[in-house]
Symmetry: C2
Subunit: 518 residues, 2 copies
């Protein structure tokens, strides 16, 4: 994309002033409009050193309300950041709806500067392009506007600017050895930039090239691009809202039409019998006696305790997600795990409905924030899978949203696994009768009454709908890198031991691989 760019573009001071006088108030207005329309915006600056990214960022924020944006300079990963998947530090920084996040260098470091400097390994590079595209796709699907600006200068112009900076003691420190190396091997670095542009230019997050030889031209063009992208985003958002309103009224009609096509009653009965019933195949008669349970529990907890140290030593992160029917025994199973763990090395994350701050972000944001660093264990009591269960069934998200969620969650877990995380997901399974028994017990036992609410009884009425959603979830998201474990949980003893044993075995297996590798 760069070879066709004409780096001789220029603009006179007077012309520049006229344009900025026109564009900047617009930008200021657009920031407010984005806030009102709840549109989150990310502006990414990449490009050659000394192209003037810093000056450009100053120009773009000039007309903005400082309460509405954040600027992030992206340096080499810190020790802490290295202990997470590479996109973690960006996931945790995505702006909430209506805010603007500006990145001076970004996730593209991985395939540009860090690649050139030899920080990125060959294997990391192979994955990086795919991970970047999926990151941008997931965010823009969710309504994020991503504006990617590439600051372009020639080898000669770059050299001239470095020389000028080096002449003056006050600015010489800004030119690093690596900067000079990238100038010296400009062609090689250029090829990396070209590859990056080719692999990451997309309709949902296209690149815009800024010809930076002339600073005025670059600033004016940048402002014009941001203004027109935001104008378009606001128009699109309004159009979409109107459409959604109309759809709501249409939905009824369409439903009726579909019903006549398939005689709803009969068909849904059919569906019931024909569906891939993973859950129906679970053998709930599995049991364990108290005595054996106690023995096994002691043995496995002792082993897990040892393994927790090893995890820390080998810097292996672990993510354990628990889902299951209400009263399925998630809490009890988690407790038996944490009893064996050093409290400084794990975190239990209870997941309820998202709070206000979480609601203004992508639905996966709050989980990204909670993922463990290397050597630590994160346990989720309920998880991101709410998207394809309660949110699907209660209509808290659009159909297209939960449908694409399977893939999004698989991608997220693959990134965790690729980083080296052990990812296990447990479905605590009981039958409907057992649930009723447990609900009643909870109501009768004063010590357990807090555990049961009217909502639990309401959810129970939707058992069939949940069963269908869970079945689809288990099939579409049980992967080699992040499997679902179906836990037969009518007998609590059996269930807890199965969970413990699965975790112990998974860690042992990984440690064995790790030791063989070294």
């Amino acid at each position: 994309m760069l070879e066709k760019v004409d780096l001789n573009r220029k603009m006179g001071k007077k012309e520049y002033k006229e344009w900025m006088d026109d564009l900047q108030p617009k930008l200021s207005y657009l920031q407010r409009a984005c806030k009102e329309q709840k549109i989150p915006v990310m502006i990414v600056f990449e490009g050659f050193g000394a192209a003037g990214k810093g000056t450009l960022i100053n120009k773009i924020i000039e007309p903005l309300d400082p309460r509405g944006f954040s600027v992030y300079a992206t340096a080499v990963e810190t020790k802490e950041e290295k202990m997470h998947p590479f996109l973690w530090r960006f996931w945790t920084k995505i702006p909430s709806q209506g805010r603007i996040a500006i990145f001076d260098r970004s996730w593209y470091r991985r395939v540009l500067v860090d690649r050139f400097d030899g920080v990125t390994t060959k294997e990391q590079l192979d994955y990086a392009f795919g991970e970047i595209c999926s990151f941008e796709k997931q965010l823009t699907d969710d309504g994020m506007v991503i504006i990617k600006l590439f600051a372009d200068v020639s080898k000669k112009e770059q050299k001239k600017r470095f020389d000028k900076l080096l002449e003056d003691k006050k600015t010489a420190w800004r030119v690093t050895k690596d900067d000079l190396a990238r100038n010296k091997h400009y062609e090689e670095y250029l090829a990396m930039n070209e590859e990056m542009l080719e692999k990451t230019d997309s309709e949902y997050a296209p690149w815009h090239i800024l010809e930076c030889t002339d600073r005025e031209y670059a600033a004016a063009k940048m402002t014009e691009i941001v203004v027109s992208v935001l104008e378009q985003a606001i128009a699109d958002k309004k159009a979409e809202q109107e459409k959604r309103e109309q759809e709501k009224t249409k939905a009824q009609e369409i439903k009726q039409e579909k019903d006549t096509l398939q005689e709803a009653g009969a068909a849904s009965q059919k569906e019931q019998v024909l569906k891939s019933s993973v859950l129906a195949g679970v053998d709930l008669s599995k049991k364990m006696e108290k005595e054996e349970y106690k023995k096994e529990l002691a043995r496995l907890q002792a082993r897990l305790s040892e393994l927790h140290n090893e995890l820390y030593k080998y810097r292996i992160p672990v993510v354990l997600a628990f889902e299951g029917w209400d009263a399925g025994g998630k809490g009890g199973a988690i407790k038996r795990l944490t009893q064996a763990l050093d409290p400084r090395g794990y975190q239990v994350n209870p997941v309820a409905a998202p709070n206000d701050a979480e609601k203004t972000h992508h639905y996966l944001w709050r989980f990204w924030k909670q993922f463990p660093k290397d050597g630590h264990v994160a346990i989720f009591d309920r998880s991101w899978y709410g998207r394809v269960m309660v949110e699907r069934i209660e209509g808290f998200c659009q159909e297209e949203e939960w449908k694409r969620a399977y893939h999004e969650m698989n991608e997220m877990e693959e990134q965790l696994a690729h980083h080296g995380t052990i990812v296990l997901k447990f479905w605590m399974h009981i039958d409907k009768d057992e649930q009723e028994r447990r609900f009643k017990e909870r109501m009768e036992n004063p010590a357990k009454q807090w555990k049961i609410t009217d909502e639990d009884w309401r959810n129970r009425e939707k058992w069939d709908a949940y069963e269908k959603a869970v079945d689809e979830m288990l099939i579409r998201t049980s992967t080699t890198y992040a499997p679902w474990i179906l836990v037969e949980a009518d007998c609590k003893y059996y269930a807890r031991i199965k969970v413990l044993r699965t975790v112990v075995e998974a860690i042992e297996k990984r440690l064995k691989e790790e030791k063989e590798r070294k």
Copy 2:
């Protein structure tokens, strides 16, 4: 995805009959409805050998009108097919709007059977998953419905079925050595299937698993899936049409709103100056005198003639696409190329508005059909780039369609290049005055009058809009694997020689690499 599947699912004969009596007439109706709604459908059968794919296909076509579907059995690539990118044989078989194409094995061979049998190389495998996903995405974005069915049986059941076939002389031939090898190494083959499912299950083309232990159950479930997917597709299509109607009436309003936001006149003037003007940077004063031209022409044509033989010998395919202003000299340049080529080894494809058959397919389909086999040259006089020029400007396609086309065309060219094709794209550039001069000459010269129509004059009025579209096209689609060459064409001699020289040099470079590799 497979490990959670319960292969013990069964259905009684009586129940089966009741269901099929209900589902088959529906399917028959839905085929007609898809035809009416112009929905193209692809049904893909993959899965384990002896799972009963053949029987299932027979069941699915039973209620269908045979004039409306085609069944394709996908064997190992023929010699002819090997001489094209691997998806070529499927691109050429995509159904037109309203038709159904059924694939007994499909493009997934590449990552399953052919992978297991060692036909697919490691390098091909690395690319294949990405190419498959982009293929399915491009088609479904265009309205194709893709139903992917995976026929699952256990190792034991498969063995039993093979044994039974082998017992009888009449059926023994159906079990190949490779089938038995895949049964013997079932676990290894299973892992390949799991990887495939994980990497290609998407919201636009999800997989459906068929438990095939019981043939009745499998057939009923398959029919149910196809019926419900098609019902949904028809409902979606109708909803989309209504939306589009409403959008049309809305479009005006939104446009007005945008206009007030950006004071259209001033802004578009601004855009004019700020845009990345690739074309403005072209030096049209470049010239060549007739004498030098004649000498160079003779030399280069002689060289190209030699090279054409080499291309054939080394089995290298070449794709040359010509775009440019009307009267830019495309025809003349192409003629100077073909004069040097053996007519058995090249094809010139003039590209005009799509015909009726082409209109009922994906817009890239007609070009896929024309791509050359190994060792051949295909020259396109105008090309797929019409999508982002005339179709964009005249509103022949939706905005989202031309916006995603840059990426789609890049993906297509990358697939060609990855297969080994030399891909060059020429933009024949003249200025507006030169065009006027040539138009007038054409009108005055009786021998050239056929070359000029009223439409040419009308297009000329849209010069500025075209210039903007061409600039964006050149930047977004000039890639390392398929570069755009800007040809300064005010002087025809200069232009023709530049085209010839570029082609000669590109072939020489490739042959050198090819020879070094061997």
